[in-house]
């Protein structure tokens, strides 16, 4: 009787948490953040192209990787999005919905992981709740630039099924775990580092607990097939990404630093031993790695213009001590006498915690999105740490005070965050989400038939071409037929398609070339510099400046031109 009541209460609380998590991920998904931004538009259009033709924007049939702008996007998110786009059309919600759904499902997955690890409803419910209201959980569920949240979800599913396998020993769980981890490799780059490590660990653990060794045969076949697919895509994509963002990439300061130190020592042997690419890269790597466990990353706001980085820190201030405490207590568990299944489960989660910052550490700067695999395990450890401390308190009165204090501080933190996310964030940072490009797009959508040409230069943005494609749901076949492009340093540069022309910069020459045409209506969009430099005065054309809203940092000028 008591057990049923308890179960009912747990179910009730869990449902409330899930409703809250759902609300925070789907409420105004189309407007917060503004968008689509460049990558969302690219992902959305490629998904649309797949849904319509089975090929991506470059005409590749069911590609294993999407060249997109030249940045080589992972395929899984795009394929999943194409299902929604096929059913509900191309729009911002269908573009973002995969991350939103997986971000929501992640709450359930971590509830089960916590339950499997601790068998404690309180810890599991708190983990789920913390994940439901997690600033990173919310932020990354509501953007679609890449499949970060999908990737974290798949990795977590892999971990959950492995824990289930360790507990129940059903082959299906083992296979599912392997499959989810393998799939995650195709969702976002962080999984290319984390999932293989987890896979190796799981295969190693399971060989010790699996009685039926024949099970390894299909698993190894599946792994090999995926491995071939990964090899096919990683040749191009991973190398190009690392050359661009890696700590030893072309444009970072390590070489300069090494030269400076060597100059101090007049290039002595000791200096060469201590100051070289290997040592400096190792130090940078270690520094980056440690950052992901440091208060600077965990608690400080980012005042940046990056659309993929949360401006709010991943943790609420009050959680930090519980997080550190949780880590220590949880790690301590492996030195205790526990059964082999529990031991493997604990080691698996510890591995997940400590390898999660690796993808972000090998790249320059501090990145929330590349370290997103910490999501889930962080909340679990906070919950674990919280109840470990709570259980240490023996006096009831102190327990009560502790509860009141923590809950009130947490609620204050939460309210401040929600105010930030739903009010401050869209107002302060919304403009960075391609606001200018979207304004151009809205104008094009409303006036497509009236004009013969729409002209805006790459000074407005290098990848502006994607916005008309996205907002008009432009036919992929027609786009492929009319497109003119060039390739520069691995990046694609679209110069024109259909009615759209994208010169490098709009100058007097651009206008004089236009005048050669007769009787045309043209919409021309200029940025501040172009507007100052271009002179539209000519007897061969009539022009009129039209009003288009823009922010001071991203000034936009629109002219309607009629060539006589």
């Amino acid at each position: 009787m008591l057990n049923t009541k308890l179960k009912r209460n747990v179910l009730l609380v869990l449902s409330a948490i899930l409703i809250l998590g759902f609300f925070l991920r789907f409420y105004r998904l189309d407007t917060i953040p503004n968008g689509p931004e460049w990558d969302e538009a690219s992902v959305g259009y490629n998904a649309y192209s797949i849904a319509q033709t089975g090929a991506d924007e470059w005409g590749n049939k069911l590609p294993a990787i999407f060249p997109a702008f030249g940045d080589y996007k992972n395929p899984l998110y795009i394929y999943l999005t194409s299902l929604f786009v096929k059913s509900f059309g191309l729009n911002i919600v269908t573009t973002r919905v995969v991350n939103a759904i997986t971000g929501f499902l992640l709450i359930i997955v971590w509830y089960f992981i916590s339950k499997l690890m601790t068998d404690d409803e309180k810890i599991s419910l708190l983990t789920a709740f913390l994940l439901a209201v997690s600033p990173f959980g919310i932020f990354y569920s509501r953007i679609a630039g890449d499949g970060m949240m999908l990737s974290v979800f798949l990795i977590s599913m892999g971990v959950m099924f492995e824990l289930l396998y360790l507990k129940k020993k059903r082959s299906l769980f083992f296979i599912s775990s392997v499959l989810f981890l393998l799939c995650s490799i195709f969702s976002y780059n962080l999984a290319r580092i984390i999932s293989p490590i987890l896979l190796i660990l799981i295969l190693f653990f399971n060989i010790k607990v699996t009685k039926n060794k024949i099970l390894y045969l299909p698993i190894l076949i599946i792994c090999s097939l995926f491995f071939v697919l990964v090899l096919k895509q990683s040749n191009i994509s991973l190398k190009s990404r690392l050359a661009y963002v890696g700590i030893l990439g072309k444009e970072n300061g390590i070489s300069l630093q090494i030269n400076e130190f060597r100059e101090h020592d007049k290039n002595s042997l000791i200096s060469k031993i201590f100051h070289n690419k290997a040592t400096f890269a190792a130090i940078t790597l270690a520094q980056n790695y440690v950052s992901y466990f440091s208060s600077g990353f965990l608690l400080e706001f980012n005042d940046n213009k990056l659309v993929f980085e949360s401006h709010y820190p991943p943790l609420y201030l009050i959680m930090l001590p519980f997080y550190y405490f949780g880590i220590i207590i949880f790690v301590k568990k492996i030195f205790k006498k526990i059964n082999i299944q529990e031991y493997y489960g604990t080691v698996l989660l510890i591995f997940l915690l400590f390898i999660s910052p690796l993808p972000a550490s090998i790249t320059e700067g501090i990145s929330g999105k590349r370290s997103l695999a910490l999501l889930g395990i962080t909340q679990f450890l906070i919950a674990y740490g919280f109840f470990s401390i709570y259980n240490l308190i023996s006096k009831k009165s102190i327990k009560k005070t502790f509860n009141i204090l923590i809950v009130s501080l947490f609620v204050t933190n939460l309210i401040l965050y929600l105010y930030f996310y739903f009010y401050t964030f869209p107002n302060k940072y919304g403009k960075f989400y391609a606001s200018r490009e979207n304004r151009i797009c809205r104008f094009i959508k409303d006036n497509y038939n009236y004009y013969d040409y729409f002209i805006f230069s790459k000074k407005i943005d290098s990848f502006t071409y994607i916005f008309p494609l996205y907002c008009l749901s432009f036919s992929p076949q027609k786009y492929a037929l009319t497109r003119k492009y060039s390739q520069n340093d691995g990046w694609y540069s679209i110069n024109s398609f259909d009615k759209f022309i994208f010169p490098d910069e709009i100058t007097k020459k651009t206008i004089s070339d236009l005048i050669k045409q007769k009787n045309k209506n043209i919409a021309i969009f200029l940025d501040k510099d172009e507007n100052n430099n271009v002179n539209l005065e000519s007897p061969k054309l009539i022009f009129k400046r039209m009003s288009i809203p823009s922010e001071p940092e991203f000034e936009l000028y629109l002219y309607k031109i009629h060539i006589l």
Binding site: F274, V290, S294, S295, G296
Partner: protein
């Protein structure tokens, strides 16, 4: 007892040796803060004589000795006490603080001394709090309202940032920062967590745990009452000492643990620690002065040395070379006349006869004078000229 005395002597000598080694060379110049202090105590050393820094060496060595005895008193464990003391001797933050004349190190000595000598916990804590407040009011700033409460939380977050502690050091006090080094060694990060585990979770040293918690609270108290414009290393010195001791416990714990598991692991560990220490020592010896000489007074000191040996009685300084004037006044304050010119007086006075002017690049640009024509100049340790002497003689 005899063993304890022996170890105490060893700790003191080791500390004195390591902190006093090359004290006349690293840092290779005097700072304005040191000049101000020496001025208060009416001490005027020769230009290249840094022996006054032995005061700091002795004070911090005494503190280390007290610390060794304090930990031994609580634990009766020589190796543990030695481990914490040795880490306190060699840690980058304290090495650099011990190599510069400052009053802040007395805070460390007083607090450790009080914890050691006063047996009653309540009396001890109240006495230390009273003394810390007194130090704050008398030596740092007598206005308690200068505490900016809104900045306490961000600075606390910054203080406990692992990257700051173990990799960067104090971002706001480059003067006390060893290049490529934090307050502690890289490897100490791991030792810190081991120390935390050993002290707070393994329940092996209950007496020590209370004392360490007291030290942490006192450190945080001092951090909060010291105004935020005081450099982080000084504000947080008691917290750093706390972290330092924890790291020492971590080393002890790991050494014991590895010795039990496998001696080969222990040797590997020692090799890693040695490499890290060598890296840090190389940074201190070969790069500290080159990277920080602007914050110290390398160029000013060299300028002073030149001007002291010059027989001109009147020396003119531009407004931007005021730091050089302060140095020269300190080293030789009663033999010559030192005057500061306004910018618009520079060309008229300096190009007149029988004077000597100390100018900076800014001044030369202002009077439109080609700096390459001035052969005598003094720069920071890496060679960039800062002060130019007119005329060439």
């Amino acid at each position: 007892m005899k063993k304890n005395l022996l170890m105490t002597t060893f700790v003191f000598l080791l500390s004195f040796f390591i902190k006093g080694l090359f004290i006349n060379k690293i840092p290779n110049s005097i700072s304005l803060q040191e000049i101000d202090l020496l001025h208060i105590f009416n001490v005027a050393p020769a230009v290249n004589d840094f022996s006054f820094r032995f005061v700091s060496v002795v004070v911090t060595s005494m503190m280390t000795v007290l610390l060794f005895n304090l930990i031994f008193l609580k634990t009766k464990n020589i190796l543990l006490s030695l481990s914490a003391s040795v880490v306190t001797i060699v840690s980058p933050w304290i090495i650099i603080l011990s190599r510069t004349l400052n009053l802040h190190i007395f805070v460390l000595l007083i607090v450790v001394g009080m914890i050691f000598f006063i047996k009653n916990r309540k009396v001890r804590i109240f006495t230390i709090i009273f003394l810390l407040v007194l130090i704050r009011l008398v030596f740092i700033n007598n206005n308690f309202l200068s505490i900016k409460f809104e900045s306490i939380l961000p600075s606390l977050i910054s203080l406990f940032d692992l990257r700051t502690i173990f990799f960067h050091g104090d971002p706001l006090s480059p003067m006390l920062r060893i290049p490529l080094t934090g307050y502690f060694l890289y490897i100490d990060l791991f030792m810190f967590f081991c120390g935390i585990y050993y002290l707070f979770l393994s329940n092996q040293e209950k007496k020590l745990t209370t004392t360490m918690l007291d030290l942490l609270y006192l450190g945080l108290f001092f951090f909060i009452i010291v105004p935020s414009d005081i450099i982080m290393t000084v504000r947080s010195e008691l917290v750093l000492l706390w972290i330092n001791i924890i790291i020492g416990f971590g080393y002890y714990y790991i050494i014991i643990f590895l010795k039990k598991v496998n001696v080969l692991f222990l040797l590997t560990f020692i090799l890693i620690v040695f490499t890290n220490t060598a890296f840090y020592a190389e940074s201190l010896i070969n790069h500290f002065d080159k990277m920080n000489s602007v914050e110290w007074g390398y160029a000013e000191q060299a300028t002073s040395k030149y001007l002291i040996n010059n027989d001109k009685k009147q020396i003119y300084f531009s407004p931007s070379s005021d730091k050089a004037k302060r140095f020269l006044t300190f080293f030789e304050h009663d033999k010559k006349e030192y005057l500061t010119l306004q910018l618009n007086q520079l060309s008229k006075t300096c190009f007149g006869s029988n004077v000597i002017c100390v100018l900076t690049e800014f001044d030369l640009n202002f009077i439109n004078f080609n700096k390459n024509l001035l052969k005598i100049n003094f720069g920071n340790d890496s060679g960039l000229p800062i002060y130019f002497i007119y005329p060439n003689q």
